[in-house]
Symmetry: D4
């Protein structure tokens, strides 16, 4: 609700095209839709060319399906993250063109393929086990209109595998790095590139990895200054932030 | 060490302007300088127009002074973070023009005021106690050639204070948000803007804030998708990441 | 066992209507009933017009059913929390009128609809995933004789959704706020109202939410002074405390 | 900013007593005052008869003094918590009538002694070491216009000390319980009274008390349903919540 | 291997009834039996009239059965703790008289009912959910030759339930107290009796009970000085320690 | 307040030697003395031949001195734990015969040297750094009328040092074991003796000892069944529990 | 990529047997093979006579099988750790001679039985439950060409079981010690031998063992100086490190 | 006490050169010396050519001096770690030739310069702040008779600094890597060398480094298989383990 819109509305009141009561009502009328159990927000799509995203985990298939359907009416592309196949089955009944990305556990509706990002986002993963999180980042960034390339299984204990792909890294405008275990990869990548690095700790590991805590702490304490961090396994968040940066 | 440079060097070998032995030596000759206790890196300045930064904490005044001096010979601007006045006294003996920013605990040498950032970086703080961390972010971003504005003491329990400055927020190309205690401010700011938000948890608080852990966890779990996080009290990192984004 | 009762008993001793031995026995005879595996307390109902509540989790269906039945003999309304359908099946065999509230995982016997609360309790939830906990609070407060209204899915990243319902919030005599992830909502709500806010962290989230720990710490460190906190997912406790306040 | 005020403003626009530009400015003009490093809020005093409270910890004496002075101009009573004697010395230079409560570490300006609370607030402490936190609660509640009584050193290992004062407890409209170490007292008190209990864990203890964590977890897991919890050592918060409840 | 035995052996060497080589071998021959995957120790039974106890959890049914059988050959009574019904089925094939105590999850072979304990051990539980742990303590203490009485569901929020049974508590020579959630009961019981109290935290609870951590910390920080603590859910350990004390 | 005393009082009422009002008052009159900031309990001394103990830490010298003086009037022996020399100076002004045990940080008044314990308590320490905690246990047990022997610096990495003193260990009726770092000593000692072992984790260590947490967890998970645990650095508690056991 | 190889390549460039472009390509061509989802590294086998090892956990059976097959083409011996039977079924279809070690959860291909280790590695376990981890260490070390002996179920609470096998321990060139619960065994073993000890904490235990955390902290704080530690349950890592040492 | 020694002693008994009583006494007479507060062990020196090491931290200067003096009488070289200058002053009065290594906080007596290690130990540090810990490792390894080289300030964010020194790394027989912050360096170094790597987490860092916890977890979860870990800041332990390996 910016100043311009507010001034317009006040002008309408002044010119008696709008009663004060109506103006009060309009100021209350914000751009979301109430499903009772959820308030579906449409204005984000308007603002940024991307849909509201549904976190499927913790919601019933039927809830996810209803929210997905509403979003599909307004926005071009729709994304449900951390979704099971059961969620997908429910969504598909209401939204035919929705697809399920098994590896990334995402339900996707792709209707707008316009490119908004100015450069390439490179998604890097330390190990094979980190790929599902990396793929969630890839799909999110692609759906938001970005060219995405990936580089998987280049963990720091075999540093030559990473160095062999420096050219790809230096082509990136933003880099996303997914790693579990000790989470050291973002520091090394951060030192190799001169662009922002989004680090995603994953829950890959066992014992004292404590479900991703070791990787998370490692990334937060990175000695590379161009690294910022999102939540454990939050591939979606990394893709979103990278897309946000890449459209600047 | 990119492909072009490597090809150039190999060309010189081929043309017999360079012996293989010399080439081997040069490949080894990387752009840093060895002080014994520290390897001072100059190439970052070359690459990005910004100096290597010294973390003063945990180093003696004399060590900081020597490193600062070397950096001052090569790079335009120099920054020492988490520095005490004792550090500054030692630095000033070697580098006359160095200044001390008390609030931000930073030693700064400003020689290049060129603007590299394309937009404005806005630094927001939740409370008065968070200002030192916010100032570290401000100084870092400014020194890296950015226009910076700030908005302090706009914590979420008085949401109107924040909403009253929405115009400033919407002018930002990148936003940095510093908050201690519950660390909720980045989520609210993230929902108000359509640009990347760098969240900095601070150690402000007591009891179960556990020296910033509460704020850190809050920010990592932000329900706003455009938020990424740096280490507790890491104003420098936030400023660095923001500058990196703003020059894209 | 207040002074009046004690004096009455001592009077009876003095008037020789009661032998000292009998008096000793009666002083031991406190108002609970012993089922062997549980001591069912009836005096709370007497004291406050509300039944003892059974925590079903960790008890067998048969144990819950027996306790529920005893409570139903004495008190007007009975509540079993964190109950599975299996618990309900066992209870219903003994107490016909017991109902199962699926969403809130509660078994309820409603026989007294008298209103004890002086104002309205408003239950707010940050996301759709927090609704089960919020519903447990709603049912608890209703069963204890309160008018309850709710406001769901108004998380802080879309602050306008919350602000659009300020009128409802300002009607509340007590507010309950349920939130997972960063748990920031109670701070914002606390700043908007001038009444007590009971914050309920939920285990909604993943990764570094650590099963609700992030939300819990956030709420304990709230910068809004009118906020107090109950255990993670403890919708019952929040409803109970709110009812206790609302009848003052 | 309620509907009535908004309608009034819009009416003024309609009647042309106010230009739209001026209206926009006024909508922006919220009731706080900007000191640069802090936004001093006055409307809370207006709303509830109590001043904004300053957390002195983490602010310089000079900052606290300036904020305290501004608050003293508008509100009747002023409170600075977690204040050192150095803070007090600075405040007293600007606000003559300010007093220092050593035990509670509070700076207080008392000008309005009106009673707003309907009943008595009883503040209980488990041990002698918990008294500073308890006193902070006492002073906060008194300053907010409440009759307060206290009951100190009645920890659960000598349960008869507590039971001997049941009469005092049953006179309370709200009870605050401060305890360190195992933090068991709120559960016992909660079982003895039929009113809300605000539990304050303190950092009293050693070893595995982990600076109050043991007490905090104990209180959050209280088996008494009428207990809610504030941050470790947060006597102010407990006093504030209790006062909020007691004026209902 | 005490001095007397050693002297006897050396005497035999001196008298040439034993060669040095044989003596060396015997000094190596310690009183345990090697099953390959386990070294079954029989000397504890000899020493104290009680069998070695098998922790069934983490072992296969077949492993437990074989160890149980060996122990049954040497010792009078045998106990397998944290055993599933599958463990029991395997044991019963080899040891006919073994019984399964479902509630306590224990397999028991009772052949010696001699009383070794000098007084009564009283086992107290805070809630119904703590009974399985309490029963493990009961069975352990009984099997080690003790008179055991129990007192269940006397949590601190209804302190009168506990006080009504003070006579039983004062009859105890040792008291075991099992409690989950806030774990406050041992402190109260400790204050009521003048004998050692063994506290057993249980994993009963949810949210911030963190699987018994809250109760554990509470008990370790007990303000009653006669309390010592065993591991979470370790009813066996509590029964064992209590039996050890009671035979002194 | 046992049944006998209650019956006596009720008899007095019946015989009209006592009015009901007076009886009520007496039932309220419990054996403690109120200093305002502390309720000094004398009945423990009566019950067990040992004084109430004052935890000096967290109390002012003056508070400790006043409590110590009161206790000295009633009980034979008095103990103040975790006391500084400043505490002692204050105490000595009021209680001339009080002594300060520097190593154990204890203030002691010894007037009754009667032996209550039936056997010997042996106090073992793993390293030289654990001696202060061990000495606190020694002094506590001695003051409570026990014969105490000690065995210091016998950590598990030089197991022969411990085994060389097995004779002393087997003479013990109760063993106290103090250890920091990995806290392994109680397990080894527990396996060598057939009596109760009280384990005291100490905060000796660095890095991942986390101020005694490593030792605490080690002891709670001891594979020796006769081990129970008290708080980190709680030598007093260990001495108290051991004395309690030794007088049985 | 050592200097010799680099010089050779540069020589080829100089002699015009290699174009600079080809040289650049070759410098990029590092000795690993790209399967898309994994980069299989062969040079380790070349370097050390041991194959790359696959961590099966978190990979699909099909992924593990494909990687295993590639490794089998190049290296002599192949190992997949933390593998389920389902993984094995998939592997066996592609690699006939692969065997499944159930206890150690390992898939093994043994083709080279050459001995590389100079002495004997002894693997010790504290309890029966630790054997799976110990077996993983045994198999790893054997596959890497070592003589391995084991000593199981010699926990510290029965120290004589361990001391009875001192001769075996003193024969070891490297010792691996696996222990759960309090994790004390490495300290005792470390004191008995004069060679490196690799400590492996296991997740055996319950309650406050916190899935191996207690054992891990215990081992990190070992008072024996010759102990170093690997991750919880990381038998593979221990076997690998021991083999590395034993071939020196 | 090995079999040979035992047999010799038994032979002496047989030949009546030794009475059984004397033999018992001798078997008890183990090679340590009792100072009352400490048992000084000399046999380690005998066994391995290295002295017992004193941890000075937590001991008084006088205690350290006395222990140091005894060790100096028996062993060739003596080391006191984590020593302050005050410790050194006390030691020097008793042992003239003792030296103080300020950076490493070590007191050293060097009398035997014999080389026991077969190869070179290389000590690597990530940053300048890690040097004190690295120096403790250097001094320990040197004192135990090893050739030691170091490589400082080669953290992973500037990977070229490390790669430029690969030749030094490949000369090592054992590598020690000290790193704070994210602790990633051991993984990278581990991948570059084919020998054992001892990782030492340091407490260098701030915020969520949690005094070295982040680095510790990172190293325990290293994806390089040849890495084992010692306690935070435990340079001594790393030097000791490396020396132990290097003499094999």
């Amino acid at each position: 609700m910016n100043s311009a819109a507010l001034r317009q509305l006040l002008d309408a009141v002044r010119r008696r095209r709008l009663t004060p009561d109506e103006a009060v009502r309009r100021l209350r009328h914000l751009p979301f839709e109430d499903l009772g159990f959820a308030k579906v927000v449409h204005h984000r799509a308007l603002r940024s060319g991307i849909p509201e995203v549904v976190l499927a985990e913790g919601k019933t298939p039927s809830q996810v399906a209803k929210i997905f359907q509403r979003l599909a009416r307004h926005g071009p592309n729709v994304l449900a993250t951390r979704a099971t196949r059961a969620h997908y089955v429910a969504v598909r009944k209401l939204v035919r063109k929705a697809e399920y990305e098994e590896l990334a556990r995402a339900i996707v509706l792709r209707r707008d393929a316009a490119v908004h990002g100015k450069g390439t986002i490179v998604v890097v993963s330390a190990g094979t086990g980190d790929i599902p999180v990396a793929e969630e980042a890839v799909i999110t960034a692609e759906l938001m209109g970005n060219r995405v390339e990936h580089l998987y299984d280049v963990g720091v204990a075999g540093i030559h595998r990473l160095l062999a792909h420096r050219a790809l890294l230096t082509r990136a405008r933003v880099v996303i790095v997914c790693a579990g275990m000790e989470g050291a990869l973002p520091s090394v990548v951060g030192g190799l590139v001169g662009v922002p690095v989004i680090a995603v700790p994953t829950s890959v590991g066992y014992g004292s990895s404590f479900e991703g805590l070791a990787a998370l702490l490692g990334m937060l304490n990175s000695c590379a200054s161009n690294v910022s961090v999102v939540n454990i396994d939050n591939g979606f968040g990394a893709g979103y932030v990278a897309a946000m940066i890449n459209r600047l």
